[in-house]
Symmetry: none
Amino acid sequence: MVDDELGVRRALQRGLTAEGMDVVTAADGPSALELAGTGSFSVILLDIMLPGLSGYRVLERLRADGVRTPVLLVSAKDGDYDQADGLDLGADGYVVKPFSFVVLAAQVKALLRRGADEGAGVLRVGELEVDRGAREARFSGEPLPLSPREFAVLEALASRPGSSVSKDELLRAAWGDEQAATRNAVEVYVGYLRKKLEAAGAGELLRTVRGHGYLVAAP
Amino acid sequence: MVDDELGVRRALQRGLTAEGMDVVTAADGPSALELAGTGSFSVILLDIMLPGLSGYRVLERLRADGVRTPVLLVSAKDGDYDQADGLDLGADGYVVKPFSFVVLAAQVKALLRRGADEGAGVLRVGELEVDRGAREARFSGEPLPLSPREFAVLEALASRPGSSVSKDELLRAAWGDEQAATRNAVEVYVGYLRKKLEAAGAGELLRTVRGHGYLVAAP
DNA sequence: GGGTGCTCTCAGTGCGGTCTCAGCTTCCGG
DNA sequence: CCGGAAGCTGAGACCGCACTGAGAGCACCC
């Protein structure tokens, strides 16, 4: 957590620690960069109003250095700085001072949760394995050759086993942009996946939830 | 979403709908209270500057009535009203006008996510299970094949077990828009549900409350 | 330049789902 | 016991969803 005011650091450290988090603080941009560069954090809470090196600059440098840690920006009350700018620079959230601690904690938790999901190595659903690191899928040990797009769709589905994922969510997860393709593209790719899954013996793994989307679950 | 300006309502409704949310609007305090009292919302977006009954009062009444739905307050730009007051009254977040839509959506999503965790997955009424994640219903373990509309109706009923739900509320919950269909459609779908429930052995689960609506309760 | 694999759109098909209508049954007050 | 209102239900028309095969466009590789 990066803030130049001692009082803010103390208060937030106490509050977040009470929520079960480990908190490390920094008071200025350079030390924040140094700490963040170690890559050993799950979330960075970054004040924009810092003496010397502003929070924007810190964020910019971090992203330029390839640090992907989620960043929650904290801004001063008056809107001289634009939230959209921060989000464009790669921030994952934005909180305006003075903020409700509950909301702040909720945002941090949401980012933590997301990070925990993304970081996981191998997803398993029944006999199916989705190896996010190797970008490879296997069924009962046998490799399952998938194109990049097919893999992305399967990954999105397998990350929420037993839960239905809508076509719009799949577009967002596997295409990145909801506008990039039509819903029919999703149907086509589910068709491809099914063909390959059935050939591997995974018949009923990928089910249709009519009117909503699809889900993967062990039979 | 409660706001007295038609333009704001339209803009937010379009934007939030594009984010995949179902939005119902109200223009003043009393109708907001009436709608919110049904308890069928995940988040309430509440403008403070309302003619007649202010947002603060609406919030106060809601909490006094035991409505726990998360509330995101929206204030005018100048700080005549204090955020702390709103938070003390039981608000879960605060956004200052003029706000960035991206930020507003992010806050709403954060609240939705939190609510989704709490209200997670499976509603249970006696032997009946309504799995919101998989969009599937089960009775004594056996899957109960339902069409999307049937599922939506059952979900709305099961989310308030033992409590009568009016046909208009069901229209709002399962059709999204009160005008989308007639009340007779509700009767028809309750009929479909009853047929399938009886076939599964769930006889008296779905009862009629003459002159009002329907309710599900364990026998 | 031809070949290959991937992506995505398009148009067509079949079927399940949705919803209205009209007639019927049930309920309840008088 | 009657009549009207509320609720129920079978029939049927319409519609849009899910799926599929064909193929165009594209990048990459010999």
